[in-house]
Amino acid sequence: MFGSYPVFLREMMLFRRRFLRLGYFFSAMFAPLLYLLAFGLGLGHRISIAGGSYLDFLLPGLIAMSSMNNSYTWIATSLTVGRLHFRTFQIFIQSPVSPFAIVLGEVLAGMVRGLFASSMILLVGFFLGSGLYFIPLFIPALLLNCFLFASLGVVSGLKAKSHEDTATFSNFFILPMAFFGGTFFPVEEMPRWLQFVIRLLPLAHTNKLMRAKCMGSDCLFSLAVLVIFAVIFFVISIHLVRTYSE
């Protein structure tokens, strides 16, 4: 358990070092801000969804999307490169820390990354005048979303045979999920059969929770789905670290 702190600390040190290079910061934040400005300003005045402005609809979706992207990508990349190229991951394996601690440290670091990106978008949203009212499940859904996708990042970072693998997985799984999971338009707009598939995607449930005004049984179900995904990915990660062998 305590062994997760140095694992976390190292990622934070590396994050700070990257962060100090402004170019990196802008490229990481560019896509969500672009979506926010282009869609939010372009469509915002014409469309209203569920009685609110489009911007109010879009903002939680973009937060869910970039918390997913950032939590996942940072950890997946860091582990793939650290394991295959710099071989720094091997230090953890050779140190007296448990697989649980290693995974927890990495996941917490991924969450910080995801939460950081989310708060940036939230900030921009406020300046654009989004009236994001208090939603009870917003914070738990956001935290679960970061945890879940950081854990998925660990899985993919430990499984990838090359750096390209991570990118491929991201393109075929993470990106479509962002587009179909209710980021830009409600899932209900989709054909029925597709809605059924989408319900299997964790991000769809995050999106739903982040926009839900009440805490119905429907919400509890979505919450349970996120928890189940989070536990599954986390347990797989621990298993992969425990059975790590070159």
Binding site: G3, L9, R10, R17, T88, I91, S95, P96
Partner: protein, 305 residues
């Protein structure tokens, strides 16, 4: 690295001796086989190393030296066979093993985007060191890197990085130290410093397991050497024993533009053999390289093509 300083650092908190060291066997390798696809990297390797030994594993590229170290340091799981360090099975009690080992791998796996101090701090915390700040300061001084403590490792020369890598492995004062080709690419002066370091470690009772391509390094440092070829241990003993086994003297002569070697039991034998050779000849005492060449057939094989 000054010997007095070194001893002071090491004795400031003597290494925890594992139970099995009472029996004197620090590293126990029992019929380890490692298969990668179609490659048999290690073939039923069996080897026992006592506490306080400086053991050198020699062998041509791809012989399986790094694979052996990976298995002993829990990075790789053997296909079959067992290994134990300090009496702890590497597969069944990995945490106990990790508590008493230090590893300086063949590739320099430092975080280049972090400073020397940050690299050591993360490593020390992973090992739950109590007096981390002081230990880091001491080890950086021993490695001659005090002034560079807050510089990014990226900006270090290759030799400085290698020194930091070894310093990191020593930070926890391990009972068993693994050094995979510790002096590759170092200038002669730094190489001597690392030799002195290993000798000091030996005096302090640390068990050292090293691999090297430099025969003179093995002769200078090791109490025993093993020669590995295609995953099999083909020779094992003190440098003296091995030289004695293949013959204490060597006759070198020229034939068709190639240098040939004949190993002889005595100087007289070499002399009498040299009578029939034309051109320049050399008669000298054998060294580990001759043993190596004779047993692995590496250079001899090439010369005969």
């Amino acid at each position: 690295m000054d010997r007095r300083q070194w001893t002071a650092f090491y004795l400031s908190a003597p290494p925890r001796l594992p139970l099995a060291s009472v029996f004197g066997h620090m590293i126990n390798i029992d019929h380890i086989t490692k298969i990668y696809g179609a490659i048999r990297a290690l073939d039923s390797l069996t080897l026992v190393i006592k506490q306080g030994e400086v053991f050198g594993l020699l062998g041509p590229n791809g012989a399986g030296k790094t694979t052996t170290i990976k298995i002993l340091t829990t990075l790789s799981k053997p296909t079959s066979g067992r290994a134990a360090i300090g009496g702890h099975d590497v597969e069944k009690e990995p945490l106990a093993v990790k508590n008493i080992i230090g590893v300086a791998p063949q590739e320099i796996n430092l975080d280049k985007e972090l400073t020397a101090e940050q690299n050591l701090r993360v490593y020390g915390m992973l090992h739950r060191l109590d007096n981390l700040g002081r230990d880091i300061k001491d080890i950086l001084e021993l490695a001659g890197l005090s002034e560079r403590s807050n510089h990014l490792v990226r900006d270090f020369s290759g030799g400085m990085q290698r020194r930091l890598l070894i310093a990191r492995a020593l930070l926890t004062k391990p009972n068993v130290l693994f050094l995979d080709e510790p002096t590759v690419g170092l200038d002669p002066q730094v190489r001597r410093q690392i030799w002195d370091l290993v000798r000091n470690l030996k005096e302090n009772g640390t068990t050292v397991f090293l691999t090297t391509h430099y025969i003179e390094e093995a002769e200078a440092l090791c109490t025993r050497v093993g020669i590995l070829s295609r995953g099999r241990l083909i020779a094992l003993g003190t440098p003296q024993e091995l030289k004695g086994e293949v013959g204490g003297f060597v006759l070198e002569y020229q034939e068709n533009g190639n240098t040939r070697y004949i190993l002889c039991q005595s100087r007289e034998e070499a002399h009498s053999l040299s009578q029939s050779k034309k051109g320049p000849i050399i008669i000298r005492e054998s060294n580990l390289e001759d043993v190596f060449i004779k047993l692995t057939g590496e250079r001899i094989g090439k010369a005969e093509q």
